[in-house]
């Protein structure tokens, strides 16, 4: 287990739908890792989150073994999913495309918490509210 890192690849992949076609294959293939094993493991770990785009960080070791860490989806994706939006506003200051209740902001903050540099749910909620406003989504008090 004398692991030595030789590669690091960041991808965003729909939950449960990794396959060896581009860009997963083109990003991981040149690293020499078992792409089918990666896809199988990624899909197995994420199938319960169907419909979400998940960031994943793959670390490759010198003997071409690998490991990966799943991150939480971007706040914008979680907000759109929560509100059933196709996209955010092109003019967030003037055109509002929806609104979140405080409970909804908390729900999203709880999902994002592991990846945020926050020590309280309140500060995570502040960050989520900021992301919402930047895409034209109001936050109701």
């Amino acid at each position: 287990m004398a692991k030595k890192v030789t590669g690091f690849v960041k991808l965003q992949i729909p939950a449960g739908r990794a396959n060896p076609a581009p860009p997963v294959g083109t990003a991981l293939g040149p690293q020499g890792i078992n792409i089918m094993a990666f896809c199988k493991e990624f899909n197995s770990r994420t199938q319960s989150q169907d419909g979400l785009i998940l960031p994943v960080e793959v670390t490759i070791f010198s003997d071409k073994s690998f490991t990966f860490i799943l991150k939480t989806p971007p706040a914008a994706i979680l907000i759109k999913k929560e509100l059933g939006l196709e996209k955010g506003s092109g003019q967030p200051n003037r055109v509002k495309v929806g609104s979140l209740t405080k409970a909804q902001v908390r729900k999203i903050a709880e999902v994002k918490m592991p990846d945020l540099n926050c020590d309280s749910i309140e500060s995570a909620m502040t960050m989520v509210a900021g992301a919402a406003r930047s895409m034209g989504v109001e936050v109701k008090e």
């Binding site: 004398a2 991808l11 076609a21 860009p23 294959g25 990003a27 293939g29 003997d63 071409k64 759109k80």
Partner: protein, 273 residues
Amino acid sequence: MTWTSLRIAGSSHRDAVIAVLFAAGAQGVHEDGATLVTHFPDSLDVGAIVGMVQAADPSAQCVTAPTSPIDWSVAWRERMRAYEVGSLTVAPPWLTDGCDASRTVVIDPGMAFGTGDHASTRGALRLLQQRMRPGLAVADLGAGSGVLAIAAAKLGGSPVFAIEADPDAMGNATANVERNAVGDVVHLLEGEAKALLPLVAPVDLIVANIVSSVLLELLATFARALQPSGIAILAGILNDERETILDAVAADGWRVLATDDEEEWWSVAIARP
């Protein structure tokens, strides 16, 4: 199917651009530093997708190019090879034709260290072959893919305890043990070596391909877990850590039996104090 790559640099609205790419049918996005990379089958209008990206982020600089027609579901295998290590061969499943199953350790590369493609694995394997005798009880610490435990079983070791703390490695190790038909001899245990080794002791031989700092921490645990005539094989030691390890084993009364060098990695077999 042929594909076109789309590389996007200079984006100041990455989330918006990524959303456009997925909405247009991307199966994933590679974050290559500051550049976003994806690919679309040629059945889609990539020019129109570039227009959508630039509408979402006017600062985005888009470059398209044909994607090399490589089937990565199998092409990654070309970078793997079989290794002959003493009387054993370590090989991935698709390179075992003509190999003697009793002397071949078949490892499917995956999420566990120990594919055979690393000098520290091979160093441990060479020392293991020198010291192994049929019927010896073996503990493999930091077992990873199970490569050393499987080798010990094929060399006659019984029982063989393969201890690994990383849960991600266990699936690969389990499959490799089954693939090599040594499930009646090799027992996989998930957990920390310090906690589990005393539970399987005493053993005749310990093989540990870990990092030197962990090896140093475990030396006293090794001594307690070995039979009086027991041997420990330590690997995962860089050449410039050799003196530190030698000083530590000498201070504890271990006797050096043999050493091995390959590339920048050094391994050592030591006899119990």
